[in-house]
Subunit: 463 residues, 4 copies
């Protein structure tokens, strides 16, 4: 696979709706380049869907919410597919059991690609005559479709990683050359003043469909009072997580939430997911990556930790003195702090990060520490690093609606709102996220024991 | 059982630590008066502990955290009991499996009472020579012990209700005469202005141990910005819940959180817990109460609903037009609003309510609607009713630490903090709660599917 | 409890139906003498019923199958009890869930005894005017009732043993003085000639109701061809089982049936049920008995082993050379061999054994080896020991109908026939079985993983 | 797929070991002709293995038990494969979890075929220089390998049928033209005289490796006494099963074993597996076949019934008067009766039947009833039909060892012996069985609730 295959085409960022549609659809398929036919079929746990299913489900989304609604005379590619490829939209009709997606050998991969291509073509015909200013409502649905497909691009990678990991042959998705890394240095605290601050998405004045796009759960913008706090300037590293492991972190209930401890015991957790201790297959700590089994680089951010582990790590950091007062950030704290980075450090208005675009498919060690000049002769303060595009950062906030939240009407209203229980918010995007997909207000969410996503830890503390 | 048996002795409210200790211990035992020996033994589901266990566990608490720590020369009543009667304090030693509390026929009820009496006596000896001003740290632990035992008084009632309910003979705990009730009238909205407000417990200046008491999860006091909102002036009634049932509320996924819907399907929910539709055992809707099977009074507050049902009811109320914009209150909203009632409407500084003290053991219909005079010639506004002592009111807030929260060190630090996942906050106390136990800042918490507590619904909306 | 309390009154063996009824009912209640009220209530696993339930169920049996059917004008003691105390007779009406028998605190023990006494009295009235020769059909049902109640006497003891065993306080049901025991010597083989032999119950010519009694599964008598085989002259001892343990028997899959191995792994079996290795609570191997925790006497028969363990022990005995060719006996082999003992060695027509009658409540070491004189100058052969009344002996035969078997019509036809799947036959009775209850043709049956009965091992081999 | 593809080459029956090896290996691969790559991967329940796994496991068998043992200098094709493709041979090393065979996308189908071809070639080299008379021990292992692979050919078909059936697209494995069928007429009873009869495999005198082949569970030959009985002359038809369905057979517990009833309730059984009632997808009863959804032909044998259903049908047949006295046959009864058919009716020493060889892949209605002339002027008796090659016939016999049975030493001793618990014996072979694979003494075995094999019902009765 050439290095550029995973780079998001420019089109996604800056072109017309039609060009962006073509680019996103192509990117989904590019991600399949390394796969054998058999790799598309397997579902190794309920949360993990077969690649084949992702390819078809994203296609069903366009067919159901755009073509069947708005494209005159459109006929379903196959009348049996909506039942198979609806994920969870109750109002869009009956659907196949999620846990049994891996039981379906048919339609074949070839048939699924035929479905994709037929729908892509019908969409392109539709978009050829479509004016988004005339039909902003339809443009909004298309915009959701683009972001929906990008979300599934991320899931395709995390799901394939899981499927490959349970295979004793440990297949490689994409090889990556060995690399040297530098110690990112001790973590520093970036302080934030207290006060009322707006949280949530606010559409810019002169908006395009793309500019105003956000998921419904990012709104409405509302005010939050933040007590004084500080955020760690970088992510927790794998090496720091190893301190926790070596200090008995997984065997000492005093660091854990009660349900976290119960989960850790039931599941036999003794280290982060995908880690293998020395002696199993090699003499050092290794972990499974999309490039196969690799030695763990202590300088890279720890990833594939659950909320329970992130929370336990923070409590350990506090109680052990590694970082007194440490806890996870609230999502409002995270968002408020991230705005400075988002607006300030890069020319194109985004913060640096690996994202899926770089093709590493694995989080990178923090760049050298930076400093932000204090205004009015104040001393320089450390700058936030690794806020975007390395690992999703668990916040301490439960995933609940913002005050005044209303789900969209109809089936698309099921997109986010109905999942607002027993989950925590994550922020920042990961190495599997397209860069064009992320925002400071972006709220990702997973159950507290989820580990198969690229999830990591940033510490915070109250001042 | 005489009517006064469930009334909290004055001692609990206003006397010395020693007198309050005696009163709380006696009250626990008074609750057992209606029981046969066999009733003390049964555990009908994991969450529900045998009465015998509650009696012994509260005793173990005094023995472990006071006598063994501070009473010179104290010897354990039975060295095998700590293993049996420690609930979940990992740092206090190994313990018996929670799910198997109902497997223990020994120690017998008589032996458990002997244990109680021995520990009560030892505590009284200890308290006789104890000066709380000299040892405020010990006084704090004793204060926790009193509130801990009051919490178990509440659980004894809810657990017995559950145990009796699964028995086809449907035993009566305490009979209650039939009563007429009046329609509480349509619900009205009590509006609240936006702004920054303090939330959480603040100790009064001239404090006694009792005055400064609060659980660690109620602190620290901190600032919250509240967008404008309104609270319903009374609880949702059983009759209103019946509208939801009759409108297909339990069969329409659009009202439910995804996990709530899954739970409702798996558990076969078609109405609130303890309800029986007409035709099962009588011609009308009935429900199981501590006074046995009773017709459902449509004017009384609905109770024994899970968070999922409370949330679904609110969404139905919004979408059906029954109460447009309805949702549950956040815990900050609830607390801010409740302060006016707590300080203003009753002579003794508490709001009216049934509590366990009245001996009804079942929530009462709302009293006649009241009005609060507007200042400066503004029109009168409806007053909040039923804020305390009827049913625990589900808030929309996940049970998470307040900013700056620190668990107490040692085993008592496990009291609250380690349960801060996958639960929602409830406020206000219920008909099983001692009146002297409640505060506006009191944070109760249960999983989202829990129904065996006296839990109900108060609506709110954003303005 | 006086030593004689567990001895079966003579009445059970040799008196009128009425006297035998009174004796059996009294014996059931005598077994409760050592109990506290709380002990009657607990169900510590699904297979184990509360004593209270056994007392009521056996009473329901008389009420349902005798009084309600044949006693003119009889009215149910409590119309709600049949639902509560029917065990599994589908044709006798709806019934309470077996797994929830321990959830019922009511009716109380006192109420259950009142039920018993009322039904006993009604039965005695009925029997006063009853002539079994006039109504042999009714006499047969009464005879079943007597044996049914004796079966529950056995279950009351095994169930209480289980309930007491899971209690960390390890209560004693009946104390037993320490005793010396003698080595029973190496096991010897008792050979049997091949040929066609009748198997199953045959009623004697001049029969009484009692003489002709047998469960339907013991009939019809039919012919079986037995290839030449030998039976071990005594039971496998606890000491021999310890060889198996020490030789890694529980860790070597080659000795086990596949499902047995899976069960042993899932359940974590490393020794027989109720055994505790040195170091847990004492310096030697101990086991839980109805007399509390006791050191294991290596000379006594091993008991509380599952079929899987009995089968694995036999395979180990074969492969290790401990007893080459060893296997378990088929039920036909066991029955054919047992007839010689049953008819020959005791004056009263029964073989010696502990049974419940001796009040040991624990299997006894084998008596000194005996020899049977060979006819016609042939050498003496070893005599079979411990065939009856020590431990139920697992046979290698699945519990299936004899050729020509027909279940009785009606609800009583559910007594035995519907359980003929996934179970193995056991023969011989145990220390919890009344001596008057057993016969050589008696077929007991349990699932292959059952361990809470007094079950043991006798080896056999093909010649 | 040409009609001949499923016909067993002559070579399997009558040629050299080498030719038979080639033919069996080729036949396995021919069965894959209709498959898409994706079809090889799926495991839709634990009992059902992916086709890919069957292809590799049968190859591993040759590699492990022949090449690695006896082929000088043989090196494993891939050292990681034995872990992946060992099924349950504990003594042959660690192995991959059975329930997770469907989680492996790699090795790919192409790699598995490469494995097959490499091992086939190595075997052919080995066989080229192999003289079975010199090494009868090795010849015996090769013979087992051939029959082992034939067993997996059968499983490939039943497993694919299951996988296709759970797919809403209902793929067709092999289409089959519609056909007319004739009513096979009422069932007649074929009587058998009582007496001692030999049961189990006996090697012919002048034996070849093939002639003496049998699985260890068919030996030793031993004597059994059979009471007089009769066997139904043909299989129970689908039409007769429909009588049972329509008579409430699935809703009346009196016909069912207790565990069968519990299974039927838990699984929601209301008709045989693969049946769909009118109204689901068509106006008539249909069932899923390897030719897709088809109307049920009432004349064809019912198939895919569990033992519980077969047993319940027989009890219904008895109690309803459809066939008074009906029950299932014991395996000894079946074997004794089958010998007459096996020796008498076909030129080549086998009875007629569909087998896999005919390529129907679905059981055929009974041919016209035949009559056997009585000797010595006795009246003609009905002849047994459909004894072989249509559906496996559940017997009433638990799968247990024959008297004197010894498992082979080593890993191959795990082939049959360790499964002798909680299973019933089936006889006769099915439409998925190669004709060259079957014998009258052949003992198949499955758990009592298994339905995914071609399993059916033949009635018997005691005379």
């Amino acid at each position: 696979m050439p290095a550029t295959l995973l780079e998001t085409p420019e089109a996604v960022v800056c072109s017309s709706l039609s060009a962006r549609f073509a680019a996103v659809r192509a990117q989904t398929e590019h991600l399949c380049d390394p796969l054998a036919t058999e790799d598309y079929v397997v579902q190794a746990m309920e949360d993990v869907s077969p690649t084949k299913w992702h390819l078809a489900h994203t296609t069903w989304f366009w067919e159901t919410f755009v073509l069947a609604e708005y494209a005159e005379g459109y006929e379903l590619h196959d009348a049996r597919y909506p039942f198979l490829f609806n994920s969870y939209y109750v109002q869009a009709g009956e659907r196949h059991c999620r846990a049994q997606r891996g039981y379906l050998s048919r339609p074949t991969v070839q048939e699924v690609f035929a479905y994709r291509h037929a729908v892509t073509e019908a969409m392109q015909d539709f978009l050829a005559g479509f004016d988004e200013r005339q039909r902003p409502d339809v443009a909004d649905v298309i915009e959701i479709g683009l972001h929906h497909e990008q979300q599934h691009q991320e899931l395709m990678l995390t799901d394939l990683k899981y499927v490959f990991s349970v295979n004793p042959l440990r297949p490689v998705y994409r090889s990556r050359p060995p690399e040297e890394s530098a110690d990112p240095g001790p973590l520093a605290w970036v302080e934030q003043a207290p006060g009322v601050t707006p949280i949530g998405f606010e559409a810019p004045e002169a908006e395009t469909t793309r500019e105003r796009f956000h998921f419904d759960n990012e709104a409405p913008r509302h005010r939050v009072y933040l007590e004084p706090f500080a955020l760690a300037d970088r992510l927790v590293t794998a090496g720091e997580m190893m301190y926790f492991v070596e200090d008995g972190g997984y065997a000492r209930p005093e660091f854990w939430l009660s349900e976290g401890w119960a989960t850790a015991q039931e599941e036999g957790w003794t280290c982060p997911f995908y880690w293998e201790p020395p002696g199993v297959n090699s003499g050092t700590w290794e972990h499974f990556t999309l490039a196969g089994m690799r030695p763990i680089d202590p300088h890279e951010p720890v990833t594939h930790v659950s909320f329970y582990e992130a929370d336990a790590f923070a409590r350990w950091a506090d109680l052990s003195g590694f970082a007194s007062g440490a806890r996870l950030a609230s999502e409002a704290e995270w968002e408020a702090a991230s705005r400075t980075v988002w607006n300030g450090t890069t020319a194109d208005g985004t913060a640096p990060g690996s994202y899926v675009d770089r093709g590493r498919l694995h989080p990178a060690p923090a760049p050298e520490a930076g400093w932000v000049a204090g205004g009015d002769g104040a001393p320089a303060a450390p700058a936030l690093r690794q806020m975007f595009g390395e690992v999703w950062q668990w916040t301490e906030s439960a995933y609940r609606p913002f005050p005044g939240y209303r789900a969209a009407p109809g089936a698309l209203g099921e997109y986010n709102g109905k999942f607002m229980s027993n989950k925590m918010v994550l922020r920042g995007g990961s190495v599997a996220t397209p860069q064009s997909h992320i925002r400071p207000t972006y709220r990702n969410f997973f159950p507290l024991d989820a580990t198969w996503q690229f999830t990591g830890i940033r510490l915070a503390k109250s001042l």
